[in-house]
């Protein structure tokens, strides 16, 4: 078990290192003048040279790479070109918004998706199954940014015109300030992510459960006279959880690194919107820092998923 943990963690660290190196190559080794970018178009040659020296851009690429990796290993992600804030401080500032959004939405989509999938799979080809499958396909096909815009239009604007101010538009109130306002401001963004992802999970659960129902051990369980409820929940659902856990790890990890589209549509000041703004401002350290942070989160989530497998499937623990 400990060997498994160590191996997976090592593999994860390798992926993060690869991503960081790829990002380094993209931003520092390709021929475009970073110092000129920072100093601005009007800056004199002397200013540009000073910037170059300060960022060590005049040193050999290998030295720059070692320094970059050294700073990264100490958790130093550099300083924003635009605001001069440290990128770590930016991440610490924005993460609560993104985490509130991602974790709340995850609770919603996981419960709704699993429930819908199990209900559909236990009544295949019934009217209920068809209804669930159709609704799931609809939201699965809808790009989240479109769904967010539609929710904003109907649930905020149309309701607002009708005199109902149930959902306020884009802003954020910290949980510590007012839990009620926090939930009100996040309700529509949660719904956006939950509908989009819940549809995927309903589809995934349904097909995994249908596969499981075809297995011999389910027939055995039924012939032993176990109640159908127990067959569904303990035998079929448990063995169907593997693909769902995989997907959940990747989805949650990705979202924690920035729920980009939802944050942009609803104007939430999280990591995702930060990156999009950094891109328009050409703020390289912020783009790099958040990208590496996001990749590290996804990789961590994957390691956690592997450990969950070991918990779900006793055969894996012995390897």
């Amino acid at each position: 078990m400990i060997g498994l943990v160590l191996r997976r963690a090592g593999g994860g660290a390798l992926v993060v290192w690869l991503v960081a190196s790829a990002v380094f190559v993209c931003y520092f080794a390709v021929p475009h003048d970073v110092a000129r970018l920072i100093a601005g178009k009007q800056a004199s040659e002397r200013t540009v040279a000073a910037v170059r020296a300060r960022l060590e851009l005049d040193r050999p690429v290998a030295v720059q790479y070692l320094h970059f990796m050294g700073r990264l290993a100490r958790g130093d992600l550099g300083v924003s070109f635009v605001t001069q804030d440290s990128v770590r401080a930016v991440i610490v500032r924005d993460l609560p918004v993104t985490a509130s959004l991602a974790l709340g939405a995850a609770a919603l989509w996981l419960s709704a998706g699993l429930l819908a999938g199990v209900v559909a799979a236990t009544r295949p080809r019934s009217r209920l199954d068809r209804a669930i499958t159709t609704v799931a396909l609809f939201f699965y096909s809808m790009p989240p940014f479109l769904l967010g815009q539609l929710l904003l239009f109907f649930c905020f604007y149309r309701l607002y015109l009708a005199g109902v101010e149930l959902f306020p538009p884009g802003s954020y109130v910290p949980l510590t300030e007012s839990p009620l306002q926090w939930a009100r401001f996040l309700a529509l963004p949660w719904l956006t992510i939950a509908l989009a992802n819940g549809a995927t999970y309903a589809r995934l659960t349904r097909s995994a459960m249908l596969d499981a129902f075809g297995e011999d051990y389910i027939r055995t369980a039924r012939s032993k006279g176990i109640s159908e409820r127990r067959v569904v929940l303990r035998h079929a659902l448990r063995s169907s959880l593997a693909p769902i856990v995989t997907q959940f790890g990747i989805d949650l990890g990705t979202l924690l690194g920035g729920a980009i589209v939802t944050e942009v549509v609803f104007g939430l000041p999280g990591l995702g919107r930060e990156v999009v703004q950094a891109i328009t401002r050409q703020d390289l350290p912020v783009i790099i820092g958040v990208t590496i942070f996001g990749s590290a989160l996804v990789v961590t989530a994957n390691v956690a998923v592997d450990l969950c497998y070991a918990l779900l499937d006793p055969r894996l623990r012995r390897r």
């Binding site: 991503v19 790009p143 815009q149 075809g214 990747i250």
Partner: protein, 307 residues
């Protein structure tokens, strides 16, 4: 003696097309896709018919005196956008981008995935270990974040969008096809081909590829809608198809600023985007059911058991 009508042999492809023909949802999906393709091809016709180019601005007739876009009406059938451009003509031209990027990116991803997946499974050993780790790594990346960073670095363009979308999709195809090839490479008929002296290339193309082709087709069909959504998302965030070229994604980004006064900017490109992704997903689901009889069987068994 009554003459017996000759029974025509029905191969897997024929069976598949017959089953699709009986699926009404699939027929509707195919009709929608063909209609969209037709409209995309005939886009210049729409421009000629209305007399409005896709990037042409009509400040005088398209915007009201205080700069608000004009709604659907006689002159502009689906209204105007914030710069006084014809929404109908732009939606029609947007279909070109969506279909082009969606189909090209999916094809590229499936071809790369097939090459990597099949060769990893066929050659095995170190190559397999290396390629499998590579696929795992690509699959475990926060794709939208990296796609944005990549597009921002190279500068957004339609071509870059295709490459970026394909890059984040090939690994999923590769992993599935690798699994399939691993299962069939030890089959007797493959061994027989080998014993007869067939080379690696011949076995891969003649013996293995036709067997995994249905899976590749199912994946290609299901990748198209997700690629179309991916392109729209990149364009929505300003890192896909650069303006003034109309794409449904960048049109919906423009709609953000006007959603209180111009619902048509949200409705028409949004409906077009949803219709095309929905059609491809319906088709993909039914193609999968057709090629995967196992699925049908497990449904039947589950039904028998639950009753």
């Amino acid at each position: 003696m009554t003459p017996v009508a000759p029974i025509r042999p029905r191969g897997p492809w024929r069976l598949a097309s017959e089953r699709i023909g009986r699926d009404r949802a699939a027929i509707a999906a195919i009709a929608t896709i063909l209609l969209a393709a037709l409209v995309a091809v005939a886009a210049p016709l729409f421009a000629a018919l209305t007399g409005h180019g896709p990037a042409e601005q009509f400040i005088e007739t398209g915007l009201s005196s205080n700069g608000i876009p004009v709604g659907p009406g006689h002159e502009f059938w689906l209204g105007c956008d914030g710069l006084g451009r014809d929404v109908l003509v732009r939606v029609v031209y947007g279909a070109r981008i969506s279909l082009l990027v969606g189909v090209l990116a999916s094809l590229l991803a499936v071809v790369c995935g097939a090459v990597v997946g099949v060769s990893a499974a066929w050659y095995g050993g170190t190559l397999d270990a290396l390629l499998s780790r590579l696929m795992d790594a690509v699959l475990s990346l926060p794709y939208l974040l990296l796609a944005l960073a990549l597009a921002a670095l190279v500068g957004p363009s339609t071509g870059i969008s295709v490459v970026v979308i394909a890059f984040f999709n090939w690994a999923a195809v590769g992993r599935v096809l690798r699994g399939e090839v691993l299962a069939i490479r030890e089959r007797e008929y493959v061994q027989a081909a080998r014993a007869l002296g067939a080379g690696h290339a011949r076995i891969m193309f003649v013996e293995i590829l036709p067997v995994v082709a249905p899976t590749a087709i199912v994946y290609a069909t299901l990748l198209i809608p997700s690629s179309i959504g991916f392109e729209a998302t990149l364009s929505f965030l300003g890192l896909g198809v650069p303006p003034p070229t109309p794409s449904w994604g960048n049109m919906l980004a423009d709609a953000m600023a006007y959603y209180k006064v111009a619902w048509w900017l949200l409705l028409f490109p949004g409906a077009a985007l949803l219709a095309i992704t929905l059609a491809f997903n319906v088709l993909g689901d039914s193609v999968r059911d057709v090629f995967d009889p196992r699925f049908e069987r497990s449904v039947a068994r589950a039904r028998g058991g639950a009753a």
